[in-house]
């Protein structure tokens, strides 16, 4: 099992090279026949590390370090939901087009369905699970203002609103509209969402 934290030596290790070249698919089979071509492998050693199969990924999710095994093709969304049991972010379009999967990485909202988990090693991921559910939090404002119907888009909207208020504690209605531009609600809860965001901004200021 490769570890992503392991610094690529200048010239990846023989192991990485072999993995990258597809000669040894499983870590357990690293020695053996490959040894014959060791010299050849050394000569061709690139200055980068190739991750070709499963790796151990360490993610900072909601302040906790979580770890799981993934393939390079795993999206952050599927990794959170299917491997780390962080199911707040939802999978709807899976194509960067609806916002249900919105999470905050290093302070900025992104679509986790279109982000590779492997690219998030060492980054800070915040999901709706970590938000304050008390009377001054965004989730509470959604409940108070009927900001949801079926609820499938809701975690994404709550995350977009929370991120907006983190950056801009006094948004105008127009700024809230722009702030949730990246989220779609099939049930049409937009009015409630906009009211909830404005109410949460007020509540946070203690008004």
């Amino acid at each position: 099992m490769a570890d992503l934290d392991q610094k690529p030596k200048v010239g990846a290790s023989r192991r990485d090279f072999l993995r990258g070249s597809g000669i040894a698919a499983a870590t357990a089979v690293i020695t053996g026949p490959a040894v014959a071509s060791l010299d050849e492998a050394k000569a061709a050693e690139p200055e980068y590390k190739v991750v070709a199969d499963t790796v151990t990924l360490k993610l900072q999710v909601n302040g906790k370090e979580l770890s799981t095994e993934i393939e390079p093709r795993c999206t952050l969304l599927d990794t959170l939901r299917n491997r780390l049991d962080v199911t707040g972010p939802k999978r709807v379009c899976d194509r960067a087009s609806c916002g249900a999967c919105t999470v905050i990485i290093d302070g900025a909202t992104v679509y986790s369905c279109t982000t590779l988990a492997i690219a998030c090693q060492g980054k800070k991921v915040e999901t709706v699970e970590s938000f304050d559910t008390g009377p001054t939090g965004v989730p509470h404002a959604f409940v108070q203002h009927d900001g949801l119907m079926c609820g499938y888009c809701t975690p994404g909207f709550v995350t977009a609103c929370k991120s907006l208020l983190d950056r801009n504690p006094n948004p105008t209605l127009d700024e809230v509209r722009k702030g949730v531009d990246g989220n779609i609600c099939r049930c049409g809860t937009y009015i409630g969402v906009l009211e909830a965001a404005l109410a949460a901004a007020k509540a946070m200021k203690g008004a």
Partner: protein, 329 residues
């Protein structure tokens, strides 16, 4: 999405090595590439992640000496640049309308310029020159979002990058790094009209990357204006980016680049000619808008792009000189 191997190099030079000699694709924000990989339109064996290479990210420079924009600069970072907003409004306005807040946080300038067309036939796996039974599927099919210029050929998609039009209007260059070293070309030269099925619409090779964009000093006035069907989650239908070199009120020279009308960012030479030597006002801007559509040959479903192009060019010219009459009550 098919399995691939992953490389996260520490520099652009190493990235180019990792891209060379394999079926590889550079990955920046992923907002285009990952969706294409999920739809099996593109299935590289290796993905080389560029977005963490901080040496090719960020905006530097000023209006007097020009700007350097690293390819891995996110659109959000570009939009937070004061000099872009104040001195290069054509670029700022175009970037501010792209996609959604999340897309702006994810997408990069390099990825935006190199995003592949959104033509639905291409995205459904039929290629850039989609044909069936010897017939062009776009010409025969639903072409409401397709080209109105260069429509005699088989490439009928429209160039998708919102940033290409303003950057070309502003005279920007792109620096390309590949296995043979570095070269700098006008942003316009990144694009070509594919003639054969396996041609790309990008002129750079698959093992080359854009490392930065350089924008000349801001002189004169510039602006972008676009028309959209939806306010977010979508591309412009038509956009015009203009850059005017003025002598007092008189246009000494003009760049008028139109988005959404051709397989490449389209230089409306007739509009440039029409506005040169004139002061920009409602009348001269409308005449330039009319000139912009000279030679257009719409397809069966996109004739609406003719009046749209006229208005969009007119409004971009007026916006450049501070006349945004359509915003007044």
């Amino acid at each position: 999405m098919k399995a691939f191997e992953y490389v996260s190099p520490s520099s652009a030079e190493v990235a180019v090595k990792a891209l060379d000699g394999v079926d590889a694709a550079p990955l920046s924000g992923g907002t285009d590439l990952i969706s294409r990989m999920k739809d099996l339109v593109t299935s590289p064996k290796r993905v080389v992640y560029l977005k963490d290479i901080s040496a090719i990210a960020g905006v530097s420079g000023d209006a007097a000496s020009g700007l350097t924009i690293g390819a891995e600069t996110t659109l959000a970072a570009l939009l937070s640049s004061k000099v872009v907003k104040e001195s290069y409004p054509a670029l700022w306005q175009a970037a501010s309308e792209v996609g959604t807040p999340q897309i702006k946080n994810m997408a990069t300038v390099g990825g935006n310029l190199c995003q592949r067309p959104r033509c639905w036939y291409y995205r459904a796996g039929f290629g850039l020159l989609p044909t069936k039974d010897g017939k062009n599927m776009v010409r025969e099919g639903d072409n409401r979002y397709h080209a109105i210029f260069h429509t005699d050929g088989d490439a009928l998609f429209v160039s998708p990058s919102s940033l290409a039009a303003p950057l070309i209007a502003l005279g920007a260059t792109a620096t390309i790094l590949g296995p043979k070293g570095e070269r700098t070309i006008p942003v316009a030269s990144l694009y070509q009209i594919p003639k054969k099925a396996d041609d790309r619409e990008l002129t750079i090779a698959a093992n080359e990357i854009v490392t930065k964009v350089t924008v000349p000093a801001a002189k004169g006035k510039n602006a972008s204006y676009e028309a959209r069907q939806k306010a977010a989650h979508d591309w412009p239908l038509v956009m015009a980016s203009v850059n005017l070199d003025l002598d007092g009120n008189t246009v000494k020279s003009a760049s008028v680049i139109v988005y959404g009308v051709a397989p490449v960012p389209y230089r409306a030479e007739a509009a440039e000619k029409a506005i040169t030597g004139k002061a920009v006002n409602a009348e001269s801007a409308a005449a330039a808008g009319d000139a912009a559509v000279q030679g257009a040959k719409p397809l069966s479903d996109n004739g609406y792009k003719i009046p749209l192009t006229k208005s969009v060019v007119k409004r971009a010219l007026l916006a450049a000189v501070g006349n945004r009459y359509w915003e007044e009550g």
